[in-house]
């Protein structure tokens, strides 16, 4: 029973079929996956294997053709747009490969944004934003706009923003794709540390084996199916 409670993400026969004219493309096919609280999972596979599609399904950005997605036991495939927006706000944090940040807002405001949306009081917001920026090591660059930050620093801000509402899940799509190897490794270690210390489930999509090695578990996808887990 305790084991069941600790499953944060569960997909059941998750299938997504795109139609490109007369051709059917199976982006995901019968994917069954369980991820526990505080676990860091890397989804790996070649380009076009369905990694991003899987991540989008889990994040409620896209609807499956068939199958279910459970987040903390709730079936999100039945939710409407408004419920999904609230779910994303409270339970999920996203980190993309690039263009993560709102360019008109500085680092502090970017992290603060989800908190304002949720309606967190100002005092509490300031406390949390400062803590998170300190956590990612950017306490000195709080009031810099994205175009004044390096790629790695931008990703750190994105991670801090993803953590703003104390989500149970962080979904990261190629977070190191636009970075050099050293910075990429630093980002991955940061995510690992956060998942351990904050008990946050992290799902990272990557095609870089070196990056994937840092995760607790690796799920290998090919042509929309899980071919291996290690």
């Amino acid at each position: 029973m305790k084991d069941m409670e600790d499953i944060v993400i569960e997909t059941v026969n998750l299938t997504k079929i795109y139609r490109l004219g007369p051709v059917e493309v199976r982006a995901l096919y019968d994917v069954n996956l369980k991820v526990r609280r505080g676990e860091m999972v890397a989804v790996v596979g070649p380009s076009g294997s369905g990694k991003t599609t899987l991540l989008n399904m889990i994040g409620g950005l896209d609807k499956p053709t068939r199958g279910k997605v459970y987040i903390e036991g709730m079936d999100i495939t039945r939710m409407d747009d408004k419920e999904l927006a609230i779910l994303r706000r409270k339970k999920i944090g996203f980190v993309f490969q690039f263009y993560n940040l709102i360019p008109v807002l500085d680092a502090y405001e970017n992290v603060e944004l989800p908190l304002i949306i949720t309606g967190v009081p100002e005092e509490e917001r300031r406390r949390r934003v400062e803590r998170l920026l300190k956590l990612v090591g950017l306490e000195d660059r709080m009031h810099h706009r994205p175009d004044e930050l390096s790629g790695g620093e931008q990703q750190k801000v994105a991670i801090a923003r993803a953590l703003a509402n104390n989500p149970s899940i962080i979904l990261a799509d190629e977070p190191t794709g636009d970075l050099d190897t050293e910075t990429g490794m630093k980002i991955m270690n940061l995510l690992k540390e956060i998942s351990r210390e904050e008990k946050v489930t992290v799902v990272v999509v990557t095609h870089d084996p070196q990056v994937a090695a840092i995760a607790d578990r690796r799920i290998h996808l090919r042509d929309g199916r899980i071919i291996r887990e290690d």
């Binding site: 950005l61 896209d62 408004k82 927006a85 008109v104 944004l113 949720t118």
Partner: protein, 891 residues
């Protein structure tokens, strides 16, 4: 050829944006065509309205010095032989009293006309009955028939002085027809009875062929409305020939030529004003095309880089972008030429609905030429800067975003962070200050230049002052945006934060849109303010100038007892006669200083009650005391300005010189304002002002008492028009008088201003609409550019209505900032205008504003922005988040 193809495809690629830019060109082109069409149509309409009552006659001939009777037959024969003279008609104008069978009695003019001419001679039409059917038939204007209560078939008794029997004789005539009252005619000439000229000659006992007026019509082919100067010159030429033929015992009055001469100046002025207003729309259209093209090339930096890397030269890129804007211009011009006709009809509406003149819309080939040239001009001028910027893009810069980022130096970062553009601010302040200062030199230009040059100068300087102010506003725009966004953040936290920042992010685009909106709004509000204030000022000044509800102007000497008769009429409160002025030299006692003034005699016991009290401003003592003291013989009230000029005060004596006789009068009061008279508080305006004395004093110093006008105050709640009409029907029967009511004058003046207001605002609203189109393009681009960003915000849980709200707020904040800036600009300049005027004017200008215009423009600007941004952002929220994010990857 290849580049032309790319240019056409590019225009087609951003369909909505291109369509809006084209629409801007359409508006400007159609406006310029419409304005020219309207002014040309107005020329014809105005000439017809003003010369209509001449009945198509171009000149008339009278005996020199009076309207005496002369034998017309020989003159007519001689005049008819002159080249370009088409028709000559003798008219016999005489005065008599008409009695109707119901006992109504009215003083009228009898007009003898050759029955072969028709009433068109008088510019009227028969509306009932027929033209002079028998020798003793007559025709009356509608209003006179109503006064006499007669209709077709009734008899009318005319009491006419016969030169044969040398006594008054009664003649009975039958009403054969009723004609429309000729509108343009002087009021006394509207009350006439038309008879056959030979019947009237017989009735009055003058010789056959005798008349006192000969109407002359020229060959109508000499009239060319497009060249009024030549037409007038031609008419003067014919006039000289007639004068040569008939000799100098007769006067030739070239009435149409002099009217045309006056109208010509009015029309030239009107055209100058309208075209100046149109230029604002043209400037807006140029900026619109420019900003559209700038957005196009900013989006296509990468693409242009690729074309450059494939070997295209700078000039080829320049040509390609210029071609794009020319394509927009040519399409806009073609539609605009067609739309011009429609717009002309709309613009002419205020004049048509006013009913003052009939306007026939006339198209000329050069209207299309103007429109065509202008359209191409707009697109090429709007395209040059973007084409130049595009040609400067290097392949390296275009293809590598990181290279572009690397070129941003540390200083540039600092510069970007600064909110207020100091050089723009200082430039704006200097322009504003310099032009405000130069306005004080306008009087010099008034002295040396023509009225049109003067007017254009006023507009140029007003425009420059406004430009200076707007530049200051552009410089402080970031502060305004931040301020308003901060206010709105109290209600919409995230939305206002994001929208405020976005406006600041696209600085150049925001500033261009802001500049267009605020400048066009400022112009329309400014012109609205000035027109409204001028109307209010004219109303007050007309009230002060006329002085009472009704003024009677006798055209022949009337006895003072007439006033008693008038005061007995129903609805009359008080009557005050005012004598004809005595123009004298007035000076201090030692004749150190002297100037010319007009002395009027007034009835001191009824003046205060008969005139508008609010304009009585006497210094030191109450008006009642002043009037009482004025009853003392040899006393005078002079204007404050004159007292200052002569250095005299109350109790002092002034000297006046009348026909080599010197008289002294004691100043019992000075006044800065007096209803019905010209008084002033300024020493500089002392010459030519009025002064008042009692009737007794006036008689003593002038020896006579001729009534120039009579002020009549009407009881509250009584219509002055009905009192005026009963004055005409009683006193008017015995005396030749003109009765003027203030309300009639006010009404026609108000009508004129309303027409002007409607025309000005309809022309200027085009500029605002073009600026709103510019805002629309900016909104579209802003949303399209940020689709991926909106995707990111949605992915972190922002809801659709919040996304829409932030787009709406972004558009709304800019609209509000522009409106505020425009409003401030217009108010500052209006205040300058009122203040400078009040420094030199006795009547202060009231600061009234056209509130409906303010609200209307605010709604036009803000509602369009809100609706448009809501629709466009809703479209983006309908897009799936993944598609939105993918769009970002592609960018």
């Amino acid at each position: 050829m290849g580049l032309l193809k790319i240019a056409i495809r590019n225009v087609k690629r951003r369909k909505i944006r291109s369509a809006i830019a084209v629409l801007g060109v359409v508006l400007a082109v159609s406006l310029i065509i419409a304005v020219n069409v309207v002014v040309d149509s107005l020329t014809v309409g105005l000439v017809e309205a003003y010369t209509g009552y001449l009945g198509g006659y171009d000149a008339f001939i009278t005996r020199r010095g009076d309207f005496g009777v002369f034998n017309s037959s020989v003159l007519i024969e001689n005049i008819s032989r002159i080249e370009d003279v088409n028709l000559t008609v003798p008219i016999f104008l005489y005065r008599c009293v008409a009695y109707s069978i119901y006992g109504k009695k009215v003083g009228v003019a009898v007009l003898g006309l050759n029955h072969t001419c028709g009433v068109s001679v008088l510019g009227a039409e028969i509306i009932e009955g027929s033209f002079l059917s028998s020798s003793n038939a007559c025709i009356l204007p509608k209003d006179l028939a109503a006064d006499l209560r007669v209709s077709v078939g009734d008899s009318l008794l005319l009491e006419v002085f016969s030169f044969k029997s040398m006594r008054y004789e009664n003649v009975t005539v039958t009403v054969a027809g009723i004609i429309s009252t000729p509108e343009g005619m002087p009021i006394t000439l509207r009350r006439f009875v038309l008879l056959d000229v030979s019947f009237l000659q017989n009735m009055t006992g003058v010789l056959w062929g005798d008349a006192n007026i000969i109407l002359v019509r020229f060959d109508q082919s000499i009239i060319d409305y497009d060249n009024i100067d030549a037409t007038v010159a031609h008419m003067v030429d014919i006039g000289c020939k007639i004068q040569d033929t008939i000799g100098f015992n007769f006067s030739v009055h070239l009435i149409k030529a002099s009217l045309l001469e006056n109208i010509k100046d009015a029309i030239a002025m009107q055209r100058a004003i309208f075209l100046t207003f149109t230029m604002i729309s043209v400037i807006m259209a140029i900026i619109l095309v420019m900003s559209t093209m700038l957005m196009n090339i900013t989006e296509r930096v990468r693409e242009i880089g690729i074309i450059r890397s494939l070997g295209a030269t700078k000039s080829q890129i320049f040509a390609m972008v210029l071609m794009e804007s020319l394509i927009l211009g040519v399409i806009g011009t073609m539609i605009g030429l067609a739309a011009g006709l429609m717009v002309s009809r709309v613009l002419v509406q205020p004049i048509v609905s006013n009913g003052m003149i009939t306007v026939q819309i006339t198209f000329r080939h050069y209207h299309l030429l103007y429109g065509g040239v202008l359209g191409v001009l707009i697109s090429s001028m709007g395209g040059i800067y973007p084409a130049y910027s595009a040609s400067r893009i290097t392949p390296v810069e275009a293809l590598s975003p990181s290279a572009r980022r690397a070129t941003i130096t540390e200083e540039e970062f600092k510069r970007r962070k600064k909110d207020v553009n100091i050089s723009l601010l200082l430039g704006g302040i200097s322009l504003f200050a310099l032009m405000s200062f130069l306005i004080f030199f306008i009087p010099i230009v008034t002295f040396y230049g023509t009225p049109i040059i003067f007017m254009l100068l006023i507009f140029v300087s007003l425009g420059s002052v406004l430009l200076g102010l707007t530049l200051v506003m552009v410089a402080i725009l970031p502060l305004m945006v931040t301020g308003i966004a901060k206010l709105l953040r109290k209600i919409w936290k995230v939305e206002a934060l994001i929208s405020g920042r976005n406006l600041l992010r696209y600085g150049r685009r925001t500033k261009i849109t802001f500049f267009m909106l605020s400048m066009s709004i400022a112009f329309i509000l400014l012109i609205g303010n000035i027109t409204t204030i001028s109307l209010a000022t004219s109303e007050v000044s007309m009230r002060a100038h006329i002085g009472s509800d009704i003024v009677i102007y006798p055209r022949q000497p009337v006895h003072l007892t007439v006033c008693n008769n008038i005061s007995e009429l129903e609805g009359v409160v008080s009557v005050c006669p005012i004598t004809s002025p005595l123009t004298v030299k007035a000076g201090d006692i030692v004749l150190y200083r002297q100037t010319t003034i007009n002395i009027y005699g007034v009835n001191t016991s009824t003046f205060l009650e008969s005139a508008f009290r609010e304009f009585v401003s006497i210094n030191g003592i109450s008006p009642e005391d002043a009037m009482e003291r004025l009853q003392e013989n040899g006393t005078i009230i002079i204007s404050e300005g004159l007292a200052k000029f002569l250095g005299v005060g109350v109790g002092d004596t002034i000297r006046i010189e009348i026909s080599q006789k010197t008289i002294t009068l004691k100043v019992i009061a000075t006044a800065s304002m007096m209803p019905g008279f010209s008084f002033t508080k300024f020493e500089q305006k002392a010459s030519g002002t009025d002064a008042i004395v009692s009737l007794q004093t006036f008689k003593n110093i002038s020896g006579t008492l001729t009534v120039e006008r009579i002020l009549v105050k009407v009881k509250e709640g009584v219509d002055p028009r009905s009192v005026a009409s009963s004055i005409s029907n009683t006193i008017g029967v015995y005396y030749d008088i003109e009765v003027v009511t203030l309300s009639d004058l006010m009404e026609s003046m108000r009508k004129g201003y309303e027409q002007m207001f409607a025309l000005f605002t309809s022309i200027l609203v085009f500029a605002v609409v073009i600026a709103v189109l510019g805002h629309a393009i900016s909104i579209i681009t802003s949303i399209e550019e940020r689709i991926w960003e909106i995707g990111v915000i949605r992915s972190i849980g922002m809801q659709n209505f919040q996304i829409i709200m932030s787009a709406v707020l972004e558009a709304f904040i800019l609209a509000v900032c522009s409106y505020l800036a425009g409003m401030v600009g217009s108010l500052v300049i209006t205040a300058e205008f009122v203040l400078t005027n009040n420094l030199t004017s006795d009547l202060p200008m009231p600061f009234t504003l056209p509130c409906a215009l303010y609200i209307g423009i605010f709604l036009l600007v803000s509602v369009t922005a809100v609706i448009l941004s809501a629709i466009l952002s809703r479209k983006v929220t309908k897009m799936s988040i993944i598609d939105a994010l993918r769009r970002g990857m592609r960018l």
